[in-house]
Point group: C2
Chain length 131, copies 2
């Protein structure tokens, strides 16, 4: 694999990032969207697990490094403009969201409000420890 | 519906935009990702079809306005950070991508290369006319 060519194909934004979608390979549910820089995408491919760039912490974010909720890579695609990455993943533990829900898209527009429509499966304090 | 509250909930980026994923409601396939500004999201909700903000053309983009490949809105969600929109849509004509493919994620990483793995269903010149 020529990493450089794979990475050069991407249309990185002005910050050197690309949005990456994690989709659950067997249910088709969209779990989350985060960002990757060149290093994060290269590591995602080489390690076979989702590794993002945390914009808030300004460092690599090996998804699951604290929670154990690793996303194992099954497949990776890019779109026609090569400015979005789509991953098929296996979500270890069945929880992708830091709120303890299956996925991050738990608010649905209903009757003119964003309603929470997905249950919390595990309390965040249990996931991340109490300190 | 209080449009203002719905829109104020979104964490718009520095350019006043948010990425929006269109997912096919019955197959679960991710069709495309584009961007919305406040007006685009408001119109998407009020008109019940995907309306994006074209960053290259700097104007509203009523998906399907030229191609007829309208995306009818079935459901709309936001993620935990309220900085990504996820729509369940019905893809009219079964073609989301301007290349004439079902969806925009037609390149998959295989043997160290981004390989085209989805067929062109309709030639772009047929979709957009020959001039």
């Amino acid at each position: 694999m020529n990493d450089s060519e794979i990475l050069d194909a991407i249309q990185w934004n002005a910050d050197g990032l690309v949005p990456a979608i994690a989709q659950e390979h067997d249910t088709g549910k969209v779990l989350m969207v985060a960002w990757m820089n060149r290093e994060a995408l290269a590591l995602t491919i080489s390690e076979g697990r989702a590794i993002y760039w945390s914009r808030s912490r300004r460092k690599l974010w090996r998804k699951g490094e604290e929670s154990g909720h690793v996303q194992t890579l099954r497949e990776i695609r890019i779109d026609c403009d090569a400015d979005v990455v789509l991953m098929q993943v296996e979500q270890i533990g069945g929880i992708a969201c830091h709120t303890g829900r299956h996925n991050c898209f738990y608010r649905r527009l209903e009757n003119g409000r964003w309603e929470e429509v997905e249950p919390v499966l595990k309390d965040a304090s249990e996931i991340y420890g109490r300190g």
